[in-house]
Subunit: 154 residues, 4 copies
């Protein structure tokens, strides 16, 4: 399975007067993870949009367990969780890089839109790219890259 692992420092502007990262920023961080995962899979989301393919968040579920603070080093691990013909679900774990534990667990569902912002099927090439995220690292693991009832494409 191919994951994205992204590390960065908490920005001052991301804190609020509670002294911790404002919760809305976790969605922004997850978005960075998605961009990075797509890049690791060989795609560029920026390029996709230039081709008129958009992925828009339709649902988000977020559990905040601990607080991140300004200047903390945090890590976002992004994985593909579910792939359907018209949507894709990513899961994210946000954590401190020093092993202090999980900050947040997030899932987002994204639907595919065309240039008129109408729902459409994921293009075949994008579907193929996303399937790579589910491929086992070993050569034996070819189940997910073959289209079929167990490929995760529903």
């Amino acid at each position: 399975m191919i994951e994205s692992v992204l590390e960065f420092r908490v920005r001052y502007a991301e804190t609020d007067q509670m002294g911790v990262v404002h919760h809305a920023n976790y969605l922004v961080w997850c978005e960075m993870g998605r961009t990075d995962l797509l890049r690791r899979l060989g795609a560029s989301y920026a390029q996709l949009e230039r081709q008129g393919i958009f992925l828009a968040v339709s649902d988000a579920r977020m559990r905040l367990r601990r607080s991140a603070r300004y200047d903390d080093l945090v890590r976002v691990r992004t994985a593909l969780r579910r792939l359907r013909s018209r949507s894709v679900t990513f899961s994210y774990v946000v954590e401190h890089t020093d092993g202090r534990g999980t900050l947040a667990e997030v899932e987002t569902d994204l639907i595919c839109l065309d240039s008129a912002r109408s729902p459409r099927k994921l293009p075949a090439a994008l579907l193929e790219t996303l399937r790579r995220a589910r491929a086992p690292a070993s050569v034996e693991g070819t189940i997910d890259v073959v289209a079929g009832p167990n490929t995760g494409v529903e």
Copy 2:
């Protein structure tokens, strides 16, 4: 039942290059709704924090149905959904003011923290304030303001 109804215009800075409101802003709008609901109930969240009482988002669930655009007039309706001894759940409906339909449905769970940011029970006075949100408008409806097995306080 006491709700907050808040209306405002979408800011340019809230849009992203997809031409619509970036999804993270819905959490910010819901936060505005919470502040307003507390005010309508006779409390001030700003004042609560000065007293060392914090309400921190622990979970958020968001469904985005349609897109809001720059300069659109939007409305956030905020209601208390569930009240427990240590946490409170608010639900939000975000919609266009012109009846074009629901933009988003959101729920957030908030836990109570003390000035050291440790979990604590909701103070009795705050609990009492929040219960007012569940009081029926009519005088007969006094169930929710009396503590008991069916008050929504678990």
Copy 3:
């Protein structure tokens, strides 16, 4: 002279861990003031963009005098300061609504761009609209609405 006067409450998400509004938000508030001033002048910036006319900030100068806090009622007063063939300068005063004094003084220069994001002259109709901001309230004051050496259009 036609000004925009916009009042709103400080959002929790706009604060940072210093306990006050993060300074970048003043630029967002000024942008809201610009939108509102254009509306008062009879134009819609959203509509302008749909016509392929963009106003992009090229310069900003900001002086922060006092701090705004969460839930404070603040007011942004926006005025046209200078009008040129290819750019326009707006000035802003941000203040508490309760007379506690000025929070910030800001100026932004905006250049006009076409749909390809290339600089262009302000369209005649927009120029005319913006000139209205400089018109004196009294009927005698017609100097600024007549094109000429002293109209502020350089």
Copy 4:
């Protein structure tokens, strides 16, 4: 002279519907540069705040020359420009990492505040730390680290 050079990718959430980075984000990026410059000088701004020393932006001047887009690699170069007993000025150049030219030039003045958010002199230790930013790289260049009429401390 010690500078900070920070490189990162533009986030999707930082764009607006014009398709480029919203101008307010440049102030956020500059803030990241300040944090990094202080770290390179051996200080931690997070640590300073825990000691009750705050640096608050009092003035900002920003010139935007070109636009950055989503997923672009950008670089912020931060330098100390002026040091006074009660304030410090930083200058920033934001640019594409691929040599496409300068995106923005920014300057911010920051004043020193105590834990009650009242203005105070920069602590001697912080002043000493900041002076390091002005030290020439060569051993001959010791003018700026010796207090005196030409040290930039006014």
